[in-house]
């Protein structure tokens, strides 16, 4: 079975003090730590578990500059077999649909039974590349997948819905799944493991090799553009409690009691 996993390199923002850059359409990434998009990490693990259970070959693909080799190499250390990086100045400024076009162009040339992506990306949160890609490749798909069971060329998958509901779907391969966090426990990738694959070649492909013209990708080939990025204005209603630890605790208990938090 040929499994393809699309992965993205994103900045970690949970602990960082973010600064919006001069264009007001992005963030200043200086000093930020980058890693594999959290959802994609679960997708890579899901692929490896499928391979461990019934064999096959895993190819990981990422769109972006040379730095993306970090996440591709990490996926190789984790258990993927091949890695491809799609890169071209023309790809810059691509939205989710243009990204899907780039990925689709590469995947069409590769044997594929199953394509996995993360549900969404940590940074832009579109949640669209996976499903757009399925559409372009004319594949059946399921989004928000939390369980995969393969039987021959049929797959039973669970989807996580709102309100605690879980849906079970049957799909025929080839198909595409967008993977939800929590589907598995991604394994740890050790530094020695990464060093072991340090010399493994990562193929890079540009727009011409993918037979993509300039107006199909980048801003021209996109359906939407980012207009502005800003921090929501600070609202009213926050009260900072002052005093010693005991006074603070007392005041806090009083407020919680008044608002009906405790009897």
């Amino acid at each position: 079975m040929d499994i393809i996993v699309c992965i993205k390199r994103v900045p970690e923002t949970a602990e960082a003090d973010l600064v919006i850059d001069k264009s007001k359409k992005g963030i200043d990434t200086d000093g930020l730590v980058f890693s594999i998009n959290e959802w994609d990490n679960y997708a890579v693990e899901a692929a490896i578990q499928l391979k461990e259970a019934q064999g096959g070959k895993i190819t990981v693909i990422s769109v972006g500059p040379e730095e993306n080799n970090e996440v591709l190499r990490r996926a190789l250390a984790m258990g993927a077999d091949e890695a491809i990086r799609l890169t071209d100045p023309a790809f810059e400024g691509s939205d989710a649909t243009a990204m899907a076009k780039i990925l689709a162009a590469a995947i069409r040339e590769l044997p594929h039974d199953l394509i996995l992506t993360g549900v969404q990306a940590d940074d832009d949160g579109f949640g669209a590349v996976g499903v757009a890609l399925a559409q372009m490749l004319d594949l059946p798909y399921a989004a928000l997948v939390t369980d995969i069971n393969l039987e021959g060329d049929t797959m039973t998958v669970h989807r996580e819905l709102e309100g605690g509901l879980e849906e079970v779907d049957k799909l025929k391969l080839p198909a595409l799944l967008t993977i939800q966090t929590g589907i598995n426990e991604p394994r740890y990738v050790s530094i020695m493991g990464i060093r072991r694959v340090a010399k493994k070649e990562i193929a890079a492909k540009g727009a011409s090799e993918l037979a993509l013209s300039g107006n199909e990708v980048g801003p021209e080939g996109s359906m939407s553009q980012i207009e502005e990025l800003f921090f929501p204005p600070v609202g009213e209603g926050a009260e900072i409690i002052e005093g010693t630890m005991d006074e603070k605790a007392e005041a806090l208990v009083k407020i919680i009691k008044e608002r009906g938090g405790v009897a």
Partner: protein, 386 residues
């Protein structure tokens, strides 16, 4: 460090084991955990496939206190077999989520709590401590490390040490945001490659600074720098050793009495593993007003607090009373007002145990430098502690 191709038993000379069982007999966690270190050694020598250990969570119960290594009559280091097994599990990625988070944090942010790099020196922002990178060679480098940089309770130790060093007229610098985790716990959780990476990063900075001595907050960092780092080429001291030196040289005296009946808990990495038993006690005894009594289990026989060897990120499989709770109960029986210790992990585990046993009104846990800072006339840093 070369990649470990050699089988564990050969690499650690485990065939020399005579199965006397002194290791398990002395192992503090064997009281509450299924971990049987003698049996682990035996199995490592006779089993061909060490994957049998992979599902045994108790391998992570070991606190790496090293009592087993001290007691082994054949001079073996059974604790290294545990670390070796953890290394295998790490290589296959089969480790607990909390351990993964700690390792990821150390890799990405240089500290196992995954806190932001640029907030590492925030504790010192009002203290005006010189940047060690701009110091003359041969000076004192204070290696703060992670717990003291990020944990508000442990920051108090760092601030107290700074006050004590200044009272003794010592000029010193810190690495600030350039410092990364010493890697002690990372190595003991089995991530040898990451340990090496952290070591190289710190060594690069040490080489630029060329310090005369490195003083550490934690015995774990002192041990790592001194015994695990390759070719450091400068003296490393835990603060208790350095501060006692200042007292001996007459540079530091304690004028403010601290009337308190206390006992002292030996951190394993300071006492058992590095033989530093007297200096902390000597400091304690030179503080006027201190009424010092020993734990029954002290010095080489001190009971481990269960905070080492990665246990800060693993609760462990042990059942019943935590050893830190046993320690607290022993202290209460002795009628002391406070347990004094000299290690961030000991402080945190013992203080937790005071809370879980409901003895916050009866017993304090105080770091030796907090006490020293009070003895030079400073008021206690933690408003709730005293």
């Amino acid at each position: 460090m070369e990649e470990q191709q050699q089988p564990l038993a050969e690499r650690l000379d485990l065939f020399a084991c005579i199965q006397c069982g002194k290791c398990t007999g002395g192992c503090p966690v064997s009281i509450r955990s299924p971990l049987n270190i003698r049996k682990v050694i035996r199995e490592s020598t006779v089993r061909e496939d060490l994957h049998i250990f992979f599902n045994r969570l108790e391998i992570w119960d070991c606190t790496t206190c090293s009592t087993c290594a001290i007691r082994c009559p054949r001079g073996l280091s059974p604790v290294d077999a545990i670390i070796g097994l953890r290394e295998m599990m790490v290589e296959e990625g089969k480790i607990e989520k909390t351990v993964i988070d700690a390792l990821d944090g150390a890799y990405k942010y240089g500290n196992p709590w995954g806190r932001a790099k640029n907030k590492r020196a925030e504790w010192a922002q009002d203290l005006d401590i010189p940047n060690a990178m701009e110091m003359e060679p041969g000076q004192v480098l204070y290696f703060v490390c992670c717990a003291a940089s990020y944990d508000p309770r442990i920051q108090v130790i760092a601030k107290s040490l700074v006050a004590v060093l200044r009272a003794a007229g010592v000029s010193f610098g810190i690495l600030g945001n350039k410092e990364v985790c010493c890697g002690s716990e990372i190595r003991r959780m089995g991530e040898a490659g990451l340990f090496e990476m952290l070591m190289e990063e710190n060594m690069k900075n040490f080489a630029k600074i060329d310090p005369g001595v490195i003083v550490t907050t934690s015995p774990h960092c002192m041990n790592a720098l001194k015994n695990d780092y390759d070719g450091l080429g400068c003296d490393v001291k835990h603060y208790s050793q350095f501060v006692w030196g200042l007292i001996e040289e007459g540079k530091l005296t304690f004028d403010t009495p601290v009337p308190m009946k206390v006992t002292y808990h030996d951190p394993c990495y300071l006492g058992k593993q590095n033989g530093v038993f007297d200096e902390p006690r000597d400091i304690l005894k030179s503080i006027p007003g201190i009424d010092f009594v020993e734990f029954g289990r002290c010095r080489e026989n001190s009971l481990c607090c269960e905070g080492g060897g990665g246990r800060m990120w693993m609760e462990g499989t042990g059942i019943g009373k935590r050893l830190s709770e046993v320690r607290v109960e022993d202290a209460l029986e002795m009628g002391v007002e406070a347990i004094i210790t000299a290690c961030p992990f000991c402080l945190l585990t013992l203080e937790d145990a005071v809370k879980t046993t409901g003895n916050e009104e009866k017993l304090k846990v105080i770091d030796l430098m907090e006490l020293a800072s009070m003895a030079i006339g400073n008021s206690p840093e933690t408003e709730n502690e005293f």
